[in-house]
Amino acid sequence: MTECRISTTPIQAIIDVLKESEITSGRLGTSLDILPQSWRMALEREMPGLVLCDVSEPLFRIRNHHSPEEVALIRQCGKLADAGYAEVLKNVKPGMTEQQVAAELEHATQGMGADYNFTLISTGRFSLEDNQLPCIRAATMFDCVVAHGDCISMEITPRYNGYWTQLVRIISVGEPNEDFIKMHEVSCRIIKGALEELKPGNRIGNIAILPVCTWI
């Protein structure tokens, strides 16, 4: 990186750079999925000679390749997620709200340098006969209280220096949940079975349609 500009009006700064570089006509690659409408209108107004074209896919393909420094950041982010999970295990108890569980989690990851957390959570009595574990969601949607015997499902998602990692975990509170244990064992067998099929030459689509029941 050779230049960094800080501006309170980023789109104007971008336009200034384009003009300074005498890029006033031709095709300008951008990600139309995420380009704010106000930015698009400003570009079209002030740079009428430019044609915006979507380069989201090639950009994402490039971003799939990470430098060693980026990999190191992702690994550190993984450690943050582990620390958040460990903190929940240490502190969770019946009577806490989901929000308080999330606070414990994020306190741990922030303390290790997470610059943001995207935490989803759900609490309920996991049951094979009557699934009472609601969909995973933001902790603050409801003031749900964790009860003895509940399961807590969490998407632990810290961001570290701009790099995300996600760890998904379900825990039982107070006592083991027999139905949850059965589901966990089934999930492990499915993963083990799938791993045996994940080899060069096999297509993901083919693995997905294999009869899962043979692994259960």
Partner: protein, 185 residues
């Protein structure tokens, strides 16, 4: 613009949520004061501040914080997202914080500047107070520095801070542009 005008009118329920959110901000400020000590990092302060608000119900926080002092080599820059900052607070520093919880969709922002005890020299305190004075009449500078008379006033009430013989006087006094320029240098 019309939409914003409509949204300026709050129902009682909305006011209650905003008030609750302000209570969360206050609890964050108190947690920040409790966490301040020599060598604590900016990131640690942010984590303690956010933790206090979230465990009481804040669904989101937008905390910016920095430490340093105004005219030193270790100067106090603009407020920034401090999550990753390992910059350590030293006795004699100031800590500026924008404490911003969200509760049921409603945001409140509290701006506070703390003066950490220890090595604060009288002239530095004077600078801070003078900026506080200036913010009363010059909002632009107040926003830039995130230092308001109220910040200084509340700061001086804390045990962490230096006593002030006449904190109310801060609010009443004025400052000239010349003095502000001197502070910028």
């Amino acid at each position: 613009m019309d939409l914003y005008e409509i949204r300026k009118k709050r129902s009682r329920e909305e006011c209650r949520l905003v008030e609750k959110c302000a209570e969360l901000a206050l609890s964050g400020y108190e947690a920040l004061c409790a966490a301040v000590q020599n060598n604590v990092t900016e990131s640690k302060l942010v984590s303690e501040l956010d933790y206090a608000m979230k465990k009481q119900g804040a669904e989101e926080t937008l905390t910016t914080l920095n430490c340093g002092f105004l005219n030193d080599a270790n100067g106090m820059g603009l407020l920034h997202s401090a999550a990753n900052s390992q910059k350590a607070v030293k006795y004699g520093d100031c800590i500026a914080a924008a404490i911003t919880p969200r509760y049921n969709g409603y945001w409140v922002q509290m701006l506070r500047t703390l003066c950490v005890r220890g090595l604060m020299q009288n002239e530095k305190l004077d600078v801070l107070l003078t900026i506080g004075n200036g913010c009363v009449g010059t909002n632009a500078y107040g926003c830039f520095r995130f230092l308001t008379a109220a910040n200084v006033y509340y700061g001086l009430q804390s045990a962490l801070f230096f006593p002030c013989s006449n904190p109310v006087g801060i609010v009443d006094s004025e400052i000239s542009c010349g003095e502000l320029k001197m502070l910028e240098s």
